[in-house]
Symmetry: C2
Subunit: 162 residues, 2 copies
DNA sequence: GGTTGATATGTTATAGAGTTACATTTATCA
DNA sequence: TGATAAATGTAACTCTATAACATATCAACC
């Protein structure tokens, strides 16, 4: 058990499910889910938090799967491009997607105390941003929505999360 | 005249107004609006687009106002902390605020073709994100909202903007 | 009006994030 | 099986950002 979306859950089965979904998606779309790509996703899923590229690279290096930055960045590019992982811009870090395969615009709630990250759903075309865009004639192709604050566990005085 | 929020405007007077507002705010709040800080804000206002810290630093260096990264970063920290400038996370770049002094959560529309940036208003406590936050008990303190796409000028076939 | 404590600046060095370029290998598919 | 495209290995480098410490400047109080 670990923290996801600030709640407890069965980590092993959530990891298995995500990997299975990605495998299925890759098979269906003829994408190469190579050992490095799979391993990077596994690392992100296992830690279940935002990780820097070099932190991931350290793990890869320990396992003999590649030691230079491009190895990690290329795998991350693949995962991000296909929606299997997301980049948290505020942290220059990456996190596994909680529902890979589905087309979506993620929004993140990031705890500034324990670094836990929850993925929510954004709809950039609606709300303020959508209105501002359509008012000015701007066409939104991609949106980054990230909120920084305190997660429920850390609000309850406890820094005993994470 | 230049491009702001994808529209033409009187650049000189917009710059004067912003500087005056910041000066007034600093006087009222006993903040030191020092030469370096002022110059960095002027540079951002003059270019009226997102600029990297090192691009700003190059200008400072040419003027003998400091040549090392911390000089630029410290000035930018001051400007960002007090809401006189904003950081565009997706670009690792900074831009002058279009309405300094007012407490607000900015949202940005970034053109991927000409790099023009328009500042809009976000209300993180409302909409999807706010609902996701209150549902889980997360308290939002700060939000980053950035949309990438095509500005009206670039949509009209013309890459003739910026 | 000088002393003190806080705030701002100058400078060196280094850490962290990401890319370019090119050689080599491994898949894919005709 | 041979041609082509996709993926990996590796070295070198650029860009972004911070740590640490010395010096200078400001604010304000006796």
């Amino acid at each position: 058990m670990d923290t996801i979306g600030f709640q407890k859950h069965d980590h092993a089965s959530c990891m298995r499910a995500a990997l299975a979904a990605v495998e299925a998606y890759c098979a269906a779309h003829k994408l190469q889910f190579t050992p490095v790509r799979r391993r990077v996703l596994e690392i992100l899923l296992a830690r279940h938090r935002a990780m820097g590229a070099y932190e991931i690279l350290d793990t890869l290096r320990d396992e003999g799967l590649g030691s230079q930055p491009p190895v990690a960045y290329r795998a991350l590019d693949f995962l991000v491009n296909h929606g299997f992982a997301h980049k948290i811009e505020q942290l220059n870090a990456f996190i596994a997607c909680t529902h890979p395969g589905e087309d979506h615009t993620p929004a993140f709630l990031i705890c500034r105390n324990c670094d836990a990250v929850a993925e929510a759903h954004a709809e950039p075309s609606r709300g303020m941003l959508g209105r501002a865009a359509s008012d000015t004639g701007f066409s939104i192709e991609q949106a980054v929505v990230e909120a920084l604050g305190l997660c429920p566990n850390c609000r309850r005085g406890a820094s005993a999360c994470a």
